[in-house]
């Protein structure tokens, strides 16, 4: 019976081609516009590490004087000072954790074969890779001993390895950053994440780094921060040492707490640490203030999804509603015109459910066609987004879930619009339409 209804629906659409085209176009445009903004929203808000987004926490410590203004909603700095970050980093623990900094370096091979280029680097602890599920294809992270000794070791991704050595496996080779040579200990796969959730300071979608260095090199080689540095009070900084000891905040800190108990313990540890630091006259603050935010909370807090995008998603759903009202009006006309035929079917033994189903399947088919065409419209829309804003290059695309959602939403919307007309037509008294045609 189902295939028969599909056949009937198709014939019905063909019978009034203009109206059908109008309706399919209305849905396609509505869905296209909605999917354009929804796809960007989906990519922006997508959980970047679903397996443990609730176990990874960004640490914030309030090490400012009471009354210091910050631009965050709870007045706490997004980053940590070097001394706090390194203290937390060096603490003995069963769980993983890492401090993190964005660096910048001229990468070259100390010969004329490869043109030197400037690249962002990520300066982290050896547990970073495991924490953020960045897999190795050759070698592995540097060892804890290498990290403690600030050994000149480096992890690069597959693409960088190909670029420098023409092959994916370059473990053991040397590579130059600025004027120093580093030994490659591991090659990771190319990191395919849209949102740079581990460091949202310089654009959430600005692309991940492909070169990784041990965090201890900051001090050993006086590495500069190329991310954000913020201060809240005046300090005399006349040397790298005084820079490291200053109250400037410029490092991210992440911790992986696998369960509630570990989290509780860590919270009391942070509390105690801040209480002790407060006594050292670093800052004037009555009660220690810290925050642990998991990945999704962190993205929300950092407003990863732009307000504009939320407004657009809302407006496009309203737009879809307009398209539906339009379709509903057209369907009413189309279905009611068909009442005599329905009368005949009723006389021949169709029950209301069958008539209703027949019409719902017809509107579903409209939805399917509109949804399919809507994907095309959305692709055009997303292309427009990509050409307008380079940063959205990876974001303005439809993944499988969005490709499936498009016809899904279209069909659902059409069924919603078709319910009333279908109900109206299935409850008409057949007798009225049978006498004359």
């Amino acid at each position: 019976m189902f295939t028969h209804y599909i056949d009937l629906a198709w014939r019905s659409l063909k019978r009034t081609p203009m109206v059908s085209i109008l309706m399919v176009c209305a849905i396609a445009i509505g869905i296209g516009i909605t999917m354009t903004s929804l796809s960007v929203y989906h990519m922006m808000s997508m959980d970047p590490i679903p397996s443990k987004s609730d176990q990874l926490f960004a640490v914030q410590l309030n090490t400012t004087d009471e009354g210091t203004d910050w631009w965050t909603e709870d007045n706490i700095a997004l980053q940590l000072t070097y001394k706090d970050a390194m203290f937390l980093h060096n603490q003995e623990s069963a769980f993983r954790k890492t401090a993190s900094m964005k660096g910048m370096a001229t990468v070259h091979m100390n010969n004329d074969e490869l043109k030197p280029y400037l690249a962002a680097t990520r300066v982290v602890g050896h547990q970073f890779f495991n924490m953020f599920e960045l897999e190795f294809i050759y070698g592995g992270p540097w060892t804890i001993e290498q990290e403690q000794l600030a050994a000149p070791v480096i992890v690069i991704d597959e693409e960088t390895s190909e670029k420098h050595f023409g092959r994916p496996n370059s473990v053991g080779e040397q590579i130059y950053l600025d004027d120093r040579s580093y030994q490659i200990v591991g090659v990771t796969k190319n990191w395919d994440i849209h949102t740079k959730y581990y460091d949202l300071n310089n654009g959430a979608f600005s692309g991940v780094e492909s070169i990784f260095l041990p965090i201890t090199l900051i001090e050993a080689q006086q590495l500069d921060n190329s991310g954000n540095t913020n201060g809240w009070k005046f300090e005399e900084i006349d040397s790298f040492e005084s820079y490291l000891q200053s109250e400037l905040v410029w490092l991210q800190f992440w911790v992986e707490l696998p369960d509630q108990r570990t989290k509780k313990d860590y919270e009391s540890f942070l509390f105690a640490y801040l209480e002790e630091q407060g006594k050292l006259d670093r800052f004037e603050r009555k009660t220690p203030e810290y925050k642990l935010r998991d990945v999704n909370e962190w993205m929300e807090y950092n407003r990863v999804v732009s307000e504009d995008n939320k407004v657009l998603v809302g407006l496009s759903f309203l737009f879809l509603a307009v398209c539906l009202a339009n379709i509903l009006g057209l369907l009413l006309g189309k279905f009611l015109k068909r009442a005599p035929e329905v009368g005949v079917r009723r006389a021949l033994g169709a029950n209301k459910r069958q008539i209703f189903l027949q019409h719902i399947i017809e509107v579903s088919m409209l939805g399917l066609l509109g949804g399919a065409l809507g994907i095309v419209v959305a692709q055009i829309g997303l292309w427009g987004v990509r050409t307008t804003n380079q940063e959205y290059n990876a974001l303005a695309s439809m993944d499988l879930s969005m490709l499936l959602a498009a016809p899904g939403i279209a069909i659902l919307a059409c069924i919603l619009a078709g319910l009333y007309p279908a109900w109206l037509v299935c409850r008409t008294q057949p007798a009225i339409y049978l006498k004359t045609q």
């Binding site: 079917r345 009723r346 021949l348 007798a431």
Partner: protein, 241 residues
């Protein structure tokens, strides 16, 4: 097999009540061929609609093959209609988008009959009405008489025990009307019970039993002698639509 006792049908609008049928009583036996006549607006069509379960009735008892129709819900009446009743309309009421084959297939699909069985039955019915060669044609490619024969084929396809015909020849010229009537008589001979509403006294005369509806009530004449029918026809108020 069809029994109506004190059936009433009242149409209620906001201000007016119209009694389309009142205390309508009728017993129909298996295999009968009944012609229903009566002036315009007398309630003939209402009677036929109630008999075909296309409309609910207001009060009274109506049973078909021993089933109390008053107690059935919409789905049950739809099924019963599908199983037991075939309709033939004045306007043919073929579905314009479907070809002849598919038109006849409609009730069979609702009956849930398998494709192969449907094919057999449709071909058989088309054969019976003499249109087997035109199965793939659309209704508008046919003459009125041919269309009505398709409608009859469609009514027969479900092997109904009742055939309800509402002015089946109303839109046809006399030659075609006669052909349709002959077809109905043949169907009746094959065992189906037929109730036919008509304006045409000549056609009515050909039916073994005539009933007349006047002001929503029944005047039943079971006549086997033409003389009596003529007398009644003369006495009844003749109203042409």
């Amino acid at each position: 097999m069809l029994s109506m006792k004190n059936i009433s049908k009242v149409y209620q609008t906001e201000k007016v009540q119209t009694h389309a049928l009142r205390d309508f009583n009728l017993e129909v036996e298996e295999g009968e061929f009944i012609a229903v006549t009566g002036p315009s607006g007398s309630g003939k069509t209402t009677f036929l609609n109630i008999a075909g379960m296309l409309e609910p009735f207001t009060s009274g008892e109506f049973s078909l093959d021993g089933v109390d129709i008053g107690k059935l819900n919409d789905n049950q009446t739809a099924d019963l209609r599908n199983q037991k009743i075939g309709f033939i309309f004045q306007g043919f009421n073929l579905i314009p988008d479907l070809n002849l084959y598919e038109n006849i297939e409609v009730p069979l699909r609702y009956a849930g009959i398998k494709r192969s069985e449907r094919k057999l039955r449709i071909e058989e019915c088309l054969e019976k009405v003499g249109l087997a060669s035109r199965a793939k044609h659309l209704p508008q490619q046919l003459s009125g008489g041919q269309q009505q024969r398709v409608a009859i084929a469609r009514a027969l396809a479900g092997k109904p025990r009742f055939l309800l015909a509402d002015e089946p020849t109303g839109n046809l010229d006399s030659l075609m009307a006669r052909q349709v009537m002959e077809l109905l008589e043949k169907i009746n001979e094959d065992g189906s019970t037929i109730i036919m509403v008509t304006h045409d006294p000549e056609l009515a005369r050909r039916a073994p039993r005539n009933i007349q509806v006047v002001d929503g009530q029944l005047a039943d004449f079971t006549m086997y002698q033409n003389k009596t029918i003529e007398a009644i026809a003369a006495s009844a108020p003749v109203v042409e639509a």
